[in-house]
Amino acid sequence: MSTIHILFGTESGNAEMVADDIAAALQGRGFETEIAELSEDVAADLADMELAVFVTSTYGEGDLPESAAPFYETLLAERPDLSGLSFGAFGLGDSVYETFNNGIDTLRGALSGLGARQIGETAKHDAASGDLASNLASSWAATLLDLVPA
């Protein structure tokens, strides 16, 4: 069975916690998981991955977290062929701000533009809702599993 890569971009650590939760949910169903922070190296390895889950928050004027910028820029500059990659997308945001959850949409657009295929719905957690991101992460990961190619 192939490994599911769980790749996160974070500034305050919330997306990393969600990545941990998704990994736990997937492991509970017998999948192998690898967690990594979005980086230049991850961008270089992406073309060899078959299954990935992207988790990111939104900062500033709707940007990706600062730490994920090198990943995003490398992706745009190198334009790897991602036609072998299926991915799930989980965004974290705060509806207090207009740019609520722009970050994950930016990332989805880039990945799709390089040939990657999204599976499942994009999860968008709203911190202002008071619901726990961990709860949404677990239930969303469970629905994703049904869509994962065997």
């Binding site: 500034e11 305050s12 650590g13 919330n14 916690m17 900062y59 500033g60 004027e61 977290p65 600062e66 705060d94 509806s95 207090v96 701000y97 207009e98 740019t99 709203d126 911190a127 202002a128 809702s129 008071g130 726990l132 991101a133 961990s134």
Partner: protein, 417 residues
């Protein structure tokens, strides 16, 4: 500082008991440091102390009460205490309840994460009768911090009046302006201290002058924060006389927020029963401006007033966050600083030649009335259960209430009987 600490017997690579680390201050810097240390050293034993009965510092008492989403970062730390074996010891003032020497002798490393507790003063001549209030103290009051200085004045919570000036153009200034101008409906699902807010502005606000030293481009506030302020229903926001955006048309708006840039504060005096703030443009006294207001709020940063900052110094004592950097950054910045500090601490703990504590028991160090993480959970539950309509919780505002709520229910019954 370390008279009874013994160097490790001959440098060796064999078994050593898990390192024991004390973190003083359960705010974001202390908690991010605990989290980062645990990631690096799986079996580390961490105790996080706080002078208050409650953890989370500025997450609970600094982040604005209408920004509950930002406060959700505490869920990461709940996990640290509830699942990952990090211990919370609240209601424990160091050195008052636990002398520094005992602490530094009992732990392999001690991390100061005490933040910056005081508002920085305006640094100009100031009439004693003038009403000048720190933005940090104000936010702590509206966030129900039992120790906010504004709760403990002779006259009670001071009334701000209808015309105020805020000195400073950072996010804290925006938080204050927004909280004082939002309607009751706009504060729905916050946990603002309604009594305190009413005591501050019983007749509402008419005008806020925001006075900044920098120019418009270099002001520190974030644009997303300004957009949020401009969208407050009754607010017309103007920058040097120009509307901030189309939504800031003054028609039908009852509150004016006028921002003035490049203003250096010159003096604070009084005129009749009002406070007079005098500024000049870019420090040029020939271009003065005067603002006659009911109160001036200083929002130009914070400073340290912890005695620990001077008292503690040894190779196994580390500092992180505000008390190390001299400024209170946002959560993301402090998370980065905490990761860097954790790396330094982990390298120290890995050294063979460092001193190790002799005493193996630390429980006897904790004061009898300390609050555990379970105690905090009971406080949190009680505050949620007693939430007023339109509020996500209603916090306790005194240490006595917090300590009572921290007691297990069986003990509370016993006390009542």
């Amino acid at each position: 500082m370390t008279p009874t600490r013994l160097p490790t017997a001959p440098p060796q690579t064999g078994f050593r008991r898990p390192p024991r680390v004390a973190i003083i201050g359960a705010g974001p810097s202390g908690c991010f440091t605990a989290q980062a240390l645990r990631k690096r050293i799986a079996n580390i034993q961490i105790t996080v102390f706080d002078a208050l009965p409650t953890p989370y510092g500025l997450i609970r008492h600094g982040i604005a009460p209408d920004h509950q989403g930002a406060k959700a970062v505490q869920r990461q730390f709940d996990r640290l205490f509830a699942r990952d074996g990090v211990r919370f010891v609240g209601n424990t003032l160091i050195p008052g309840d636990l002398p520094c020497a005992q602490l530094t002798e009992a732990f392999d490393a001690v991390v100061l994460a005490t933040g910056l507790a005081r508002d920085r003063g305006l640094g100009v001549a100031q009439d004693e009768q003038a009403r000048v209030i720190g933005a940090g103290a104000l936010l702590r009051l509206l966030n129900s911090d039992p120790d906010s200085p504004l709760r403990h004045t002779a006259e009670g919570v001071p009334e701000l009046g209808r015309e105020i000036a805020i000195v400073g153009t950072g996010n804290v200034a925006v938080d204050v302006a927004r909280l004082l101008t939002k309607s009751a409906a706009e504060l729905a699902s916050s946990d603002i201290d309604d009594h305190a807010l009413h005591a501050l502005i019983p007749h509402g606000i008419a005008t806020i002058h925001v006075i900044g030293r920098s120019d418009r481009e270099s002001a520190k506030w974030e644009h997303s924060m300004l957009k949020e302020l401009a969208s407050v229903q009754s607010v017309a926001l103007r920058f040097d006389g120009e509307p901030f955006d189309a939504a800031s048309n003054p028609a039908g708006k009852s509150i004016r927020i006028d921002v003035r840039f490049r203003q250096t504060t010159q003096s604070i005096t009084t005129m009749r029963d009002k406070t007079l703030l005098t500024t000049c443009e870019e420090g040029d006294p020939s271009k003065p401006s005067q603002f006659l207001v009911d109160a001036v709020i200083s929002a130009i940063g914070f400073q340290d007033d912890s005695p620990l900052s001077h008292e503690l110094d040894a190779p196994h004592i580390f500092r992180v966050g505000g008390c190390a950097s001299g400024r209170l950054g946002n959560l993301a910045e402090n998370r980065k600083l905490a990761a860097a500090a954790a790396q330094t601490i982990a390298e120290y703990l890995a050294r063979d030649d460092r001193a190790v504590p002799v005493d193996d028991d630390i429980d006897h160090l904790f004061p009898a009335r300390h609050v555990t993480f379970d105690g905090w959970r009971r406080i949190e539950e009680a505050e949620t259960l007693r939430a007023r309509p339109q509020r996500c919780r209603t916090k306790f505002t005194t240490r006595d209430e917090l300590l009572a709520a921290a007691q297990p229910v069986t003990d509370r019954l016993a006390i009542n009987a």
